[in-house]
Symmetry: none
């Protein structure tokens, strides 16, 4: 039965690629209100597709922001029910001038499909949807019950996801979740992801006077908002780039032996890593790069701005400055406590009179983690051994999938991350792409995965 | 002889006031193309007046923008030659509704002449022109050779002044300059301005990787350009906001007793100063605010930017960041050496592998300064003591005056600022006015000044 489905998917390859290109043409940038039409078009695309392949209850689940697309197939009584997760929103395309082909005109070059969202995560979302489509087309049924849930706010931290889950708690009852978001950990060895770092957001605003002033007339006796903000941002790390906020680090437990040996199994050529990115090493050198990227927390400034930044110069003494921070959290760190620790650190270092205010772009999410022996992990390991001939190395994601944390917390669902993006695909950057070879690989693996999951009883997912 | 000239000017007072009113009726707003006719009329007015009083070579000096008005009297061989500087352009009058009488209908109320440009600087420019006129009318000669230069772009930053000087270098050869622009520093005590801080420009660029990266996937092992730039910018000052670049400060000599006592004589209410600006104190508290604003150098970041700064958030690890710096220089600091000192400071603190590059938005200008014993200063001090009975308090400007810097750099001329505006005259604001009492005061002082300057030999101005 699974072989018929796989054969069908192989025949359908070109049609699937065209459908992926079609959705990549829709500019669904969730952070920028200018892209409202693109988001709407991407929702309509998936609504239409879920209806066309025979799902029921196809609808938008609204939580007050960009709604999620939902559709279910519940024709396998007694079999487990899985939420299949993807997202239709993408990161902003800027800077446009660095793209070799326009970000919303999907273009194939050298076995790669270039477009904003190709890797993150319209490619893997399409693989998941098309696998279910193929089962229903070929066998008129699916091995497990499936609830497809395609979010519209993943790239902005899923701000309304909690309300969506609250409002549609009944619709979202399930035994586990499979996420198409979060890719493979290596281009070399098969890996299996057991979770992701969490995230917390904090925007820092500094004000030093009522208005911008003339730097000649006032320079030398008045605080400059950019100097103050620079000093505050600099205080978050030591010169090596190690986090210098003890209260924040106190929430992160020491690494286990198992974590360290798994990381060692995936050791990368660190010299090559830095050479390829033309990047400069940073952080605690007693941990490997893999450990620093996935098992240790971070504090990063994602953007900072103040004063005059146009062409030429302007002799202004800026009175305000802003920095956008995110923190990547490890299991054990609470997002709100992490934010408070950083706030307190900054407040303690803010000179008297300088006004420091904070805002948050999202509530944040704790790290997620899938424990050993779980049906999702067992099934996935089986599929990977069958498709690659190797036992996968367990990894974790450095990035954040808020959905994993929220579905665990609100619906009790553990999640398997089973996306097919590869680590070289320039996600969030210009010239994002998806390896075309990942399409057949992903379709085959997802077909086998749904069949493997059918071998478990629903209650085994909740053990 | 000077008494005859002063007597003549006293008799001519009403006619001079009428001529001042006439030029104040001409709306010569340089920033707004709608006022082209007003600028042209103001030029014609001064061209006619310079010709009428007997100057030679009366002409427009064109640098591609609003031309300057020029006229010379060279009948005193062996005596020094002075450029007399003023400007015929004014600031925009808006907001009109706040003017008690129309901005271009000069109106006398309570001993004040209200009009746009009355204080800045048609009043003092008229005083300078009429002084020369009176000498020529009464004595058929002037104590010194005079080259009157009335600029048309002072209020927009003198964009074509360098080209004017370049094109008319021969015409502008002189031994020194007297500027009618830049007024008295106090309504209480007589002051004399001896110069202004200079300026140097430096743009700092940091690069930490070949491209922006996903902060989840790469965060923790790679340097972040904004963190690195923040640390570099923070290193320029200590926590009090004192400059922490010893090599830069080494170029700035310690303040003299005279400088400190003069600054003390003009002490401001520092609490009120900070309260009005809602500003936060900064810098070396062993110096007063007046000293920090005018006698000490600065390093300011005028703008800084990197990463994502649009609405919402973006989980990017920025690979580049930029800061625009300006330095306000005091006498003794060379602009290029100041830039080099800051460069070396930043380079020494830049972590290995982080790429630091620099660009400059302009060549910079050294501070302008009349040193003790300079004929311009000696003559001006003598005049002020004679006219007020008090020794003037020496002041300096915190900002940079392009005309002073350009004439020093391109023609080697030191300048005396000898305008008669007072600090309460609402320059650049609605209801700008000129104290009527400043007209006889200014005419008398300028008459004496030209006579005093004639006591020096040309070469003494270049010592």
């Amino acid at each position: 039965m699974t072989e018929d489905v796989i054969t069908f998917l192989e025949r359908e390859h070109d049609a699937i690629l065209e459908r992926l290109k079609a959705v990549l043409r829709l500019p669904s940038v969730s952070t920028d209100p200018a892209y409202a039409d693109g988001l709407k078009a991407a929702r309509s695309f998936f609504m239409d597709r879920l209806s066309a392949i025979g799902l029921q209850d196809v609808q938008l689940l609204d939580g007050g922001g960009h709604p999620a697309v939902y559709g279910a197939w519940n024709g396998a009584p007694g079999a487990p029910t899985l939420i299949v997760y993807g997202h239709y929103d993408v990161q902003p395309p800027e800077p446009f001038e660095l793209w070799q082909s326009p970000p919303f005109e999907p273009t194939v070059r050298n076995g790669r499909l270039y477009a904003r969202g190709a890797s993150d995560v319209k490619g893997s979302t399409t693989i998941a949807v098309e696998t279910v489509a193929a089962y229903l087309a070929v066998t008129q049924r699916c091995p497990v019950n499936v609830k497809i849930f395609i979010e519209g706010e993943e790239e902005i931290g899923s701000p309304s996801l909690r309300r969506i889950v609250e409002r549609h708690r009944d619709l979202l009852q399930a035994d586990g979740m499979i996420s198409a978001d979060g890719g493979r950990g290596s281009t070399e060895v098969p890996t299996l992801n057991t979770g992701a770092r969490g995230i917390a957001w904090l925007e820092v605003n500094v004000r030093t006077a009522a208005k911008d002033m003339h730097s000649g007339r006032y320079g030398g006796a008045l605080r400059n908002a950019l100097h103050e903000l620079a000093a505050l941002i600099a205080s978050l790390h030591d010169p090596e780039g190690r986090i210098a906020v003890p209260e924040y680090m106190a929430g992160a437990p020491a690494l286990t032996e198992r974590q360290r040996s798994d990381a060692a199994a995936l050791a990368i050529d660190e010299t090559a890593f830095y050479a390829e990115l033309q990047g400069v090493p940073r952080g605690d050198r007693s941990y490997s790069v893999v450990e620093r990227l996935t098992l240790l927390p971070t504090i990063e400034v994602n953007g900072m701005c103040g004063g005059y930044t146009g062409p030429g110069g302007k002799t202004v003494l800026p009175c305000t400055a802003t920095a956008k921070l995110t923190m990547r959290l490890v299991p054990g760190q609470d997002p709100q406590k992490a934010v408070e620790a950083v706030r307190r650190h900054l407040e303690a270092r803010c000179p008297c009179g300088v006004k420091l205010t904070f805002s948050q772009n999202g509530g944040g999410s704790p790290a997620s983690s899938l424990e050993a022996g779980h049906p999702l992990l067992v099934a996935a390991e089986t599929v990977i051994e069958r498709t690659t001939g190797q036992r996968p190395v367990l990894t974790r994601l450095g990035g954040t999938v808020p959905i994993l944390a929220i579905f665990k917390e609100m619906l009790g669902l553990d999640a398997l991350v089973f996306g097919f993006a590869k680590p070289d695909e320039d996600v969030h950057a210009p010239n994002e792409f998806f390896h075309l070879s990942s399409i057949p690989e992903g379709l085959r693996a997802w077909t086998l995965l749904l069949a493997e999951l059918a071998k478990f009883k629903p209650e085994e997912f909740h053990a």
